[in-house]
């Protein structure tokens, strides 16, 4: 196998492995957040979780695929390692950005669903309530 071909193959293998690892981490740990956001509706949480991971895969594999082209000829193993480090570094940065964006979306959804449970204003006073059932019994 020539050096350029093996460089591409190593790049693809590493990128795909990293993307799958990050996506699985998100899928596993994001579920708790989503169940909380949807007030214990696990079916809806699982569905949204799955859709988020699909989007994550699409964007990352899209980037990996677009960034495959090197643009110059590599002849030595040294050049191959340098090219790989640049490419993998970019993939890692994109994955990190996507990961933090996902966390941001999760925490925003959670904050939104929590704050809106509370009334907009504080009460003026409290009064005891005579229960209707107790009165009629």
């Amino acid at each position: 196998m020539t050096i350029p071909i093996s460089t591409y193959l190593i790049y693809l293998a590493l990128s795909i492995a990293l993307t799958v690892w990050v996506a699985r981490t998100l899928h596993k740990n994001g579920r708790v957040f989503l169940v909380d956001v949807f007030h214990g509706n696990e079916a809806l949480a699982d569905s949204v979780n799955h859709l988020l991971v699909v989007g994550f895969y699409l964007i990352n594999f899209g980037y990996v695929s677009l960034a495959l082209k090197l643009g110059y000829v590599i002849e030595t193993a040294e050049q191959s390692i340098e090219a790989l480090s640049v490419k993998i570094g970019m993939v890692l940065l994109v994955l990190g950005g996507m990961h933090f964006f996902n966390l941001f979306v999760f925490s925003r959804m959670r904050r939104r669903s929590n704050t809106h449970q509370h009334p907009p204003v504080a009460p003026d006073e409290f009064t005891p309530i005579q229960q209707a059932a107790r009165q009629e019994a």
Partner: protein, 121 residues
């Protein structure tokens, strides 16, 4: 909070119209409508100042929390699916004084408004 009780003025045409409008809205929590200072209201809330409830709309939560006037209107908005976001907007510190002024103005002149718009009996 799962349910709110609205103490409204049964003699005011505007309030009856508001009541009809509320009946058509999608609600996030349950509504009870009780005429203010009525026997039913006194039985339910024996320690409440019922003269105060005649002056302005009053909302009481199922936890006994009492909201008078503008706060009561904000609670009504909060209980409606379409207007919950608006209740937070109108209750924000920069909007609350304006909300209070407008709601008080309408509330204090409700009989005149009802007459002028032909909503009174």
């Amino acid at each position: 909070m799962l349910c709110i009780t609205v103490l409204y003025d049964p003699d005011c045409g505007l309030c009856r119209r508001a009541h009809e409008w509320l009946a058509e809205q999608a609600k996030l929590i349950e509504f009870n409508f009780v005429p203010c200072a009525s026997e039913e209201a006194r039985r339910r809330y024996p320690q409440l100042n019922h003269d105060l409830t005649k002056q302005d709309l009053t909302v009481i939560g199922d936890n006994g929390a009492v909201y008078f006037g503008p706060k009561a209107w904000l609670m009504v908005l909060w209980a409606l699916a379409r207007y919950r976001d608006w209740s937070y907007r109108l209750a924000a510190p920069e909007m609350l004084p304006t909300t209070r002024r407008v709601v008080s103005l309408i509330s204090q002149n409700r009989y005149q408004i009802s007459r002028a718009t032909g909503l009174s009996r």
